[in-house]
């Protein structure tokens, strides 16, 4: 039995590890498209801020983890897949046969249609190699412009400030992290960043980027232009599914998977950022591109590949973000349903906010700013679909008592 896994990010590695546990004999191959030691993107901001070195980003230490577990790490990028012949062809022409294939090829950063994003002073912050380049340019006092204040932008923002950069953030939408936070929280985060000395330009578009004299001239939709030593582009990611073209696999933005992480092709599974599966919050298909979902999907896919039928009951969107010390989270249907009920509590002075969304006596979504204590309970309540009973009315008034509600509902014997 040969399990072939495309992609050595958290999903690929988790799948390989799970497969090895379930089957001591199978051949397991992990194709690493970046040619690096498998690492975690989640750790990049901490590498950039100097909190950890490169090794600190590695998915597993010691280095001989893969050798010890007989997982073949093959550097290379996959050019195509032949699902009929059950082979994978790499860009360098090598061909690998498989019995079972897992697509865990992840996603990649994309550029918006803006002129001048291909210069040497413009970088994404997605791969460890991107991070190395940024580290060279984002020195103390460097003028850095960050394009995009989404999840990735906001998480590396802190690293750039930690490096001593003079930072300006440019975001098209009217607030920071618009897909994760509402107007109140997103605006609070903006004010927070501004208080910490970061310029944040929302509802602003970068019109063009021009390099000259070793610096960048960045034109803004407001008519202004700013000079910079580095532009970091964090304008979104797209699933890496090009290698599946021609296989006939069902795909939308990602490769579509069912509850067992099976694609429409026999013996081909997908997990992580490249997979498009059921979204817990909407019941629709979506690519969530988040760490917890990627590893959970990978484990489920691996179990199924090993012959243990396992279902995955939809992915719950959830995020946690620390931006210059302000921690924000969002869970599930954080913007709620029209037919639902909502509770919010805002303390501007203490930089705290919580918003809960209810439907049918249950919690369906939440977002917070400035709360850290027992925050995982929000996931428990939402994904466990726990009937709140009398707690719903209490939480409508006092949403910050959510941990208490959870403990009472799960452990209290009424």
């Amino acid at each position: 039995m040969h399990h072939l896994i495309i992609g050595a990010g958290p999903a690929g590695v988790r799948a390989a590890e799970t497969l090895r546990k379930l089957d001591g004999q199978a051949k397991i191959t992990l194709i690493d498209g970046e040619g690096e030691a498998p690492y975690s993107r989640m750790a990049i901001p901490y590498y950039l801020s100097g909190k950890i070195d490169e090794q600190g980003t590695w998915l597993h230490r010691p280095v001989d983890f893969y050798a010890e577990n007989a997982i073949d790490l093959v550097p290379g990028r996959v050019a195509s897949v032949d699902a009929g012949a059950k082979t994978v062809t790499l860009e360098d022409g090598r061909s690998l046969a498989y019995d079972k294939l897992l697509l865990a090829s992840g996603a990649r950063a994309v550029n918006p249609p803006v002129e001048g994003l291909d210069g040497d002073l413009v970088h994404h912050c997605w791969t460890i190699d991107d991070a190395r380049r940024i580290a060279q340019l984002a020195h103390e006092g460097a003028r850095v412009v960050l394009m995009g204040a989404g999840f990735i932008g906001s998480i590396i923002l802190e690293s750039l400030v930690a490096r001593g950069a003079d930072l300006t953030v440019v975001e098209i939408e009217d607030r920071m992290v618009p897909r994760m936070l509402d107007e109140t929280a997103g605006s609070m985060l903006k004010r927070w960043c501004e208080k910490k000395g970061v310029k944040v330009l929302t509802s602003t578009r970068i019109g063009g980027v021009y390099e000259g004299g070793g610096e960048l001239n960045i034109a803004l939709s407001t008519g202004e232009a700013i000079k910079a030593d580095l532009l970091v582009v964090a304008a979104g990611v797209t699933p890496n599914i090009e290698c599946m073209h021609g296989t006939g696999v069902e795909s939308r933005s990602g490769v579509v998977v069912n509850s067992r992480m099976e694609t429409s092709l026999p013996d081909v599974w997908a997990a992580g950022d490249c997979a498009e599966g059921c979204d817990f919050s909407t019941g629709d298909l979506s690519t969530l591109a988040i760490q917890p979902v990627a590893v959970e999907q990978a484990r489920v896919a691996a179990q199924n590949m090993a012959g243990i039928a396992t279902e995955y009951h939809c992915a719950l969107p959830m995020n946690v973000l620390e931006t210059l010390g302000l921690i924000t989270t969002s869970f599930g249907k954080h913007d709620g349903l029209q037919t639902g009920e909502r509770a919010t509590a805002l303390d501007e002075e203490q930089w705290r906010y919580i918003r809960l969304e209810f439907h049918d006596g249950k919690l369906i979504g939440a977002q917070t700013a400035g709360h850290v204590n027992m925050i995982g309970c929000l996931r428990g309540l939402i994904q466990g679909r726990m009937p709140l009973g009398p707690w719903k009315d209490i939480l409508l008034r006092e949403p910050h008592r959510v941990a208490e509600a959870y403990v009472d509902l799960s452990r209290g014997v009424s």
């Binding site: 509590a345 303390d347 203490q350 705290r352 919580i354 204590n373 008034r397 006092e398 949403p399 910050h400 008592r401 941990a403 208490e404």
Partner: protein
Amino acid sequence: MAWAKRILRVNLTEGTCKAEPLNMDWAMDYLGQRGLATKYFVEEVDPKVDPLSPENKLIMTTGPLTGTGASTAARYSVVTKGPLTNCIACSNSGGYFGAELKNAGWDMIIFEGKADKPVYLVIDDDEAELHDASEIWGTSVWHTDDWIKEKHQEPQFQIAAIGVPGENGVLFSAVVNNKHRAAGRSGVGTVMGSKNLKAVAVRGTKGITVNDPEAFEKAVNDAKAVIAGNAVTHEALPTYGTQVLTNIINELGALPTRNAQDVQFEKANDISGEAMHEPRRTDGKPNLVRNAGCFGCTIACGRISQIDPTHFSVKDKPQYHHASGGVEYENAWALGADTGVGDLEALTYCNYRCNEHALDPITTGATIAAAMELYKIGALTDEDTGGIKMEFGSAEALVAAVDAICDGTDFGKLLGLGSKRLCEKFGHPDLSMSVKGQEFPAYDPRGIQGMGLTYATSNRGACHLRSYTVASEVLGIPEKTDPLVTDGKAGLVKVFQDLTAFVDSSGLCIFTTFAWSAEDIAPQIDAACEGDWSVENLMKVGERIWNLERKFNLDAGMTAEDDTLPKRILKEAAKTGPAKGLVNGLDKMLPEYYELRGWTPQGVPTEETLSRLGLA
């Protein structure tokens, strides 16, 4: 170490909050909490100050052990000049508030002046800020607690507050924290109200260290083992709470009944600790839900009760149908035996209301009892009571009277004076069972003679918690003495007073002394704190505190004539029980006590005594 070494000074007039270092020289002489705060108080406040004027100050204070892992290290005290007594006041409470204050990094808060409008103080570790309390002024402790947590989105706040009576000058208002733990006596909550200070909310996350961690761990574990191995602290108190005393003291003929006209109550067993365990006829559930501990307490004597929802007191009031603090011995006595009411559910309701509105239940019950006697002799009329038939034994009258105090009706305002001023106003001062303006608690000094001296000499007015000789005279702790004799009681009272003074200054609960001797306590303090904290030195600290308090009271205008007991206790013999025919023999004990204290026959500490204690 152990001390946070920092105090918070809140000037309510100016609206300022400032940190200052703790005076460590004073800490070495007075340990903390009761002793140290009293030292600060007497240094800063004119003894003749009007307790309800802005010139009075109010100190909330923790002990060095408060918030550490020592068993019962929950305590904080409120020190001020009491409006009920015009003496130094120091009321001690448990729950979670004190430990939280300490964990926020504060040994004490000194409140001075008076806010021009109602405020509450919020402490979040190092940050302290006054907030507008106009939305909670005029509401209960319970509402205030909920409101502040909701307002600040902080369920982890520990909150101490006053109720409406404290705002309105009811002279026996307490400070209640965690909704059912009270710094109960002498009207400390009334002082808070007079300063327009509604509540203090605190969140602490800084951590508390001790001087010698290894020695502390050993001392604390040894002491916990003593508590766990002692039948009183390991079985009786958790199971029955202090309420186990009701039947004992009644059998002894020392349960003051119907305003101390009698010394035995025929319905004692109906309101006892045993009764709280009995399934009720109506709903088959016992009054008692469970026992509860204060912060760090390995005894857990606290009572959590739930009132019978069909009982007349709460039938139409679902807001009282939940569990909350149940009656303790003193409360059951004051609200029950002393008023002649044997209805446990009614007492529990009244206890809830005392907690909800921060009233001292001892003075509340004893004042209602005095009003019942005034009513009986016709001195108080239906017109005065607003139509309430203030008859001994009437649960309806009791409930109505407590409601009247909480609601601030005309009759409630009369009762809010306390029994001394009430009885004076209606021409029968001798019917107030009080010393220095404060009602005595649940031990009749005719049946337990030592308690007579305890009450007469207590520095905060009549009180059992200044020298609990009941431990010896009734319970045989540390050794049994005869409750009916006066011999040897002067010495007993002095030792108990000094011991209690230092325990009250440590952060520990005095109830530990049912199991612990000073030899169990001293090593814990000594390991936690720098300095010498041998038993010998601690007893001297206790004596120093006692004399400091005494000196303040004398400077405030008190004299030896105030070291007395109600006429009834001194002249009217007990009618039943072992003490039948006896009055309290205070005149035999007091001169010996003064002498043992090193005081003149006029009850004034001699120069020699003062200099020996470093008070000259």
